[in-house]
Amino acid sequence: MAILEVKDIHKSFGKTEVLKGISFSMEEGQVLSIIGSSGSGKTTLLRCICFLESADTGKILLDGAPLFDGDAPPLKPAAQRHLQTKIGLVFQQFNLFPQYNVLDNVTLAVKLRAKERPDFKKNRKQIYAEIEEKAKVLLAKMGLSDKLENYPCELSGGQQQRVSIARAMALEPKILFFDEPTSALDPELTGEILKVIRELAAEHMTMVIVTHEMNFAKEVSDHIVFMDHGVIAEEGRALDLFENPQTDRLKAFLSSHN
């Protein structure tokens, strides 16, 4: 069964239709990249899946459970929050919490969620210790073991983005979304983020990546979705799509990105 199914999603802002019927699905452990020029609707699509925008019509299913159903009443806040923690989102602008150090940025949401556990009061110390231990392991994987006590303003953009990946991973999401994770970084810093994503892919983390890094998308993705003016103009296996584009629009897009 597909882990993520998007069915005929439409979304307008005022009179502008940004998504004109988007459908795709992906399997667990896959990496899917969404490419396309600015304004093609990539980010809006991601935001609709992650509850940051509400689509107008269509269906979005995560592991069979509806994240969005245009025919049903909207989800209750508690139900939405429950589903929200199953999806992680890494922002273009990192959006770390400036008043917390690296470790607290990663553990804050996990600790707040742990408060809802029935055994929280009894085992508080132990639960917090476990959460911190897990966060430290994650941050070590990101190469940030020596930065636990640092605040975001003391880190480089690449380091901040790695913290934000760890923060998203800390809730153990089923699927991780990246919204142009390297676009706010200097070129020499994009490499460290791409390396982290590559490592996650090797561990079969299910990921959806909106990106302008074509070579990276080709290398890391199982599947590519090419969006143009609010529709999926072409999709397919990464190699096929890049080596043998079928539509003129994708050919034009790829040649302008080389």
Binding site: F51, T85, Q99, L112
Partner: protein, 229 residues
Amino acid sequence: MEKIIEQFPIVFQALNSGFLQTLKLFCTTLLGALPLGLIIAFGSMSKFKPLSAVVRTFVWIIRGSPLMIQLLIIYYFPGLVWNNPIWGSGENGRFLAATVAFIINYACYFSEIYRGGIQSIPVGQHEAAQVLGMSKGQTFFRVILLQVVKRIVPPMSNEIITLVKDTSLARIIALHEVLFTGENFLTGSRGIAGEVWPLFFTGVYYLIFSGLLTILFNKIEKKLSYFKV
């Protein structure tokens, strides 16, 4: 000069008790206006248009008219117009009326500072908290609030130092605060009359107090300088 040295202990004692009243008005105003301002700020940011319109009109009236007039209306209106002097007589009544006027006035100013602070926090902070599964309340208290506090410390310190001196406006309803006490030595009080220096000397109280507050606010700013917003 000798005369001043002779009068000083009497004047000093009187001004001290006057300043105590000033300090009381200052503290109760802050205690009431800081939380009330936050409530007014949420009202003026409400998505329910009639509510935000009413709140913003109220803020406009309060900020747009002199505090002195508000003091006079609040103190005299119930007694003179309704024939119902709700404040009671004497110093306690005057203090109560002055407190109410000051709290309403300063809450409106604070509300605009809060509103500016809250709205200046990038939407990405709310979104990041949301995708991490935090509730609206958790997002505000655990993520947004401290960033707002950091942003509003400079304008707040400005407003609070203005409050130190604005307390002297309560003199218009004869509240026995420090300025009123000093002025009394012109007309005659505690065996001293026709002396203007006590009135001028009250300025020293305001200077020292606002100086201490400035130091306090600098400390707070420093304390919050470990992060950037």
